[in-house]
């Protein structure tokens, strides 16, 4: 099929374009990017007033399959991702059982081939059963297709095991995506430790539970000469460490999630369990630090940490509810409202954080609109306003603190590998 996307504002930091332009898609590739194209095509997409960017890449999500298909599946999760404008998502290995062996990777890869509506990059576990005891078979998992390893959901508690894992990852050419949390410091905690947790009578998780492991793992990565990517950075203390590491030219990258620049711990006072996530929502000062770190490049990537949980799991006492919220469908709007409209980032900056950088860090396709690139393209209406209701949620789980919010900026059309997977907000696959 040949598609012509006409008249949109094309933003691609890789080819340094930010201008009104047309894009011709031929088969699964981008054939041409130029002004006023009049090529023959099967379907023309009118992108006037829209922003046309490389498809969004989410390097941190939980799709729950296999094992927790009541929360999400590859089929439902990838459709929710499409709705949010994502063309590639990386799924974390904390399924039941975890993705910790070549056999499990092969099984997951089979489900993805059968059910996925967008590209899915697989992440394998760092340790067997994610228990932090024995490093998994990285090279075998890589042969089956994983692009990175992570014990996300838990940290690797023992420094000796982490060092061993970082060395093995370097040898196999795999990225380590690092969930930084000192489990001894966070034990029993359910929200940020501070005055709000004190007045609510809840156990707190101090910022140091994150930052002490960021510090440790940057040192270990340096020793192992391995690449490390710090997941879901939530606090100022971690940012300072990452900034320092980058100045020292260490191969460290980092991501944050939209909720860490849109919400603060103050939101927890309702005891709404959709404000419970790990790491927890932090202070206003942390939010400002995160925005600054996005602007100055300390944080490379915005990832959703999409973590579906059923109503039955979440509709309980704050202490008993699982951590995490869904994020695919709100990420773009929150970026538009909190970062673009508030002058933190420009569109090219945002495309870097949501597409180019994560694609590059994962070493997967996408992230650019260069001629010859895979036709992973998202067309966005930056002005579209809507109220995010439970009925609108595409994901199987509805655990979002943003339900009821008035949001702005929405993905309208999405091409995945040249296939028009979402057209006028309707999912076609």
């Amino acid at each position: 099929m040949r598609y012509l996307i006409k008249g949109g504002r094309v933003v691609d930091p890789v080819s340094k374009i930010d201008d009104t332009s047309d894009i011709l898609i031929d088969g699964n590739r981008i054939a041409k990017v130029a002004k006023d194209l009049n090529e023959k095509c099967d379907t023309e997409i009118n992108a006037k007033g829209k922003i046309v960017i490389p498809g969004l890449v989410d390097m941190h999500s939980h799709l729950r399959e296999p094992g927790r298909e009541d929360e999400e599946t590859i089929a439902t999760g990838t459709r929710a991702a499409l709705r949010g404008g994502f063309t590639t998502i990386a799924c974390m290995p904390n399924t039941e059982p975890p993705i910790d062996s070549p056999e499990m990777v092969r099984k997951l890869s089979g489900i993805i081939k059968r059910d996925a509506a967008c590209h899915v990059a697989m992440v394998g576990a760092i340790t067997l059963k994610r228990t932090g005891r024995k490093v998994a078979a990285f090279s075998g998992m890589k042969k089956e297709g994983v692009v990175a390893v992570s014990d996300d959901g838990s940290s690797v508690e023992k420094a000796s095991i982490m060092l061993q894992a970082l060395r093995a990852a370097r040898k196999s050419g795999l990225l380590v995506i690092d969930h930084c949390e000192d489990p001894k410091m966070s034990a029993g905690g359910v929200m940020n430790k501070g005055f709000i947790s004190t007045k609510m009578g809840l156990r707190g998780i101090p910022a140091e539970a994150e930052s002490t492991f960021v510090k440790r793992d940057i040192e270990l990565a340096k020793k192992a000469r391995a690449k490390i990517h710090i997941a879901h950075v939530s606090c100022a203390k971690s940012i300072e460490l990452i900034r320092k590491a980058k100045k020292a030219r260490l191969p460290v990258t980092a991501e944050t999630a939209p909720h860490y620049f849109s919400l603060t711990e103050d939101c927890c006072v309702s005891y709404d369990t959709n404000t419970k996530m790990n790491p927890p929502l932090r202070t206003k000062a942390d939010v400002e630090f995160i925005k600054e770190a996005l602007a100055d490049g300390t944080i490379d990537v915005i990832a959703t940490d999409h973590a579906p949980h059923t109503d039955a799991e979440k509709d309980v006492e704050f202490d008993f509810a699982p951590f995490g919220i869904i994020g695919f469908e709100t990420a773009l709007s929150l970026c538009v409202m909190e970062l673009l409209d508030k002058g933190v980032l420009s569109w090219p900056d945002l495309v870097m954080k949501l597409s180019t950088n994560p694609a590059k860090i994962l070493g997967c396709c996408g992230g650019s609109l260069k001629k010859g690139s895979p036709a992973d393209i998202t067309v966005i209406d930056p002005e579209k306003e809507y109220v995010y209701t439970k009925e609108l949620v595409e994901s199987k789980s509805k655990n979002s603190p943003f339900i009821g919010w008035r949001l702005k900026g929405k993905a309208i059309d999405v091409f995945v590998g040249g296939v028009l997977a979402m057209k006028d907000e309707e999912i076609m696959v």
Partner: protein, 323 residues
């Protein structure tokens, strides 16, 4: 002033969520109910035909009994439901339990729970009134109300009084409710505990913080001494009860150095020889048993007010929204 006040809250979840005016109105209402409890026939028909359910997820004798008596003296019907704390996480959810109880056409749920915020979650899920009888480390509003009521009765006012709360502040719902209540009514509040039992940020409520017992006692018009639970959380700071008693225990020697008429309160049950000596507990400055008596009047006031709230409004902090 108080008698013209119109009460609008359907729930009592914590003193943090009440205004000084609302707290004063509860105290004012409690005073008139206290008169009832001294009569030969200790019953008024104001809640006749209403049903109160005591839903207790934690064992409690005194608070439950106090609520039960309060409800009965208002002529309400009372049902007690005790949920084994061990079955909280596997059995029916709190919200389902609340909705099932509500389907029995009851009017007020009095809930005690080990998880902070459980009454808030329940209040959001049912139309009935919810009264917090103690949740985790969060709040125990009726306890603080009866403490305030008792002190006001003794000293005639709250505003300007120096009140010290002594003990495990970090793990105490009584401490939090006392802090909100006393601060809102204009008292000067000091909290005193070993450093590890002072929760982070507590000074943001407006209290003065000290680790020095002598500082907390000096100039105090009243002290509220918390129960120390060495079998649970308090052992963090002090490995032994005896050591705690030496450093922080309220003894007659320490009381002798205080203001002559210092009022000594304790929410009970007392650990004699741990946070307080027997001489002090049973001495002239102690109002501990009066607190127990006043607890009934205060709870009568609370049940009465929430059950008959005019144009009931939610007492909950709103869910986060950007509209």
């Amino acid at each position: 002033m108080s008698n013209k006040f119109i009460w609008t809250k359907k729930d009592l979840l914590g003193l943090e969520y009440l205004s000084a005016e609302e707290i004063n109105h509860i105290l004012y209402t409690a005073a008139s109910f206290k008169e009832v409890t001294t009569r030969q026939i200790k019953k008024v028909p104001v809640l006749r035909g209403k049903t109160v359910v005591n839903l207790f997820y934690e064992p409690s004798t005194r608070t439950r009994t106090s609520f039960e008596l309060a409800a009965k003296r208002l002529s309400a019907d009372v049902i007690n439901i005790a949920v084994e704390s061990s079955s909280v996480r596997k059995g029916e959810t709190l919200i389902d339990t609340g909705r099932n109880i509500e389907a029995l056409k009851i009017d007020i749920i009095v809930v005690r729970h080990s998880a902070s915020g459980a009454p808030n979650i329940l209040a959001r899920s049912v139309r009935s009134s919810v009264v917090n009888a103690g949740d985790g480390w969060h709040e125990h509003p009726t306890q603080a109300l009866l403490d305030i009521f008792t002190l006001k009765e003794k000293l005639g006012r709250i505003e300007g009084l120096k009140v010290s709360i002594i003990g495990d502040i970090a793990h105490s719902r009584v401490a939090r409710s006392n802090i909100w209540g006393f601060i809102k009514l204009g008292a000067k509040v000091t909290v005193c505990a070993p450093e590890k039992l002072i929760p982070v940020g507590i000074e943001q409520t407006g209290v003065h913080v000290t680790n020095d017992i002598n500082e907390a006692l000096e100039d105090a018009d009243a002290i509220n001494v918390l129960r120390m639970q060495f079998e649970r959380d308090s052992k963090l700071a002090f490995p032994s009860a005896l050591e705690y008693f030496k450093q922080y225990g309220i003894t007659s020697d320490r009381i002798k150095k205080c203001k002559k008429n210092i009022v000594v309160m304790h929410p009970g049950p007392i650990n004699r020889g741990v946070e307080m000596s027997s001489e002090v507990a049973d001495g002239a400055n102690s109002v501990i048993l009066e607190q127990v008596t006043n607890g009934i009047a205060v709870r009568m006031a609370v049940l009465y007010l929430v059950a008959l709230a005019k144009k009931p409004t939610s007492s909950l902090p709103a869910k986060v929204e950007n509209m």
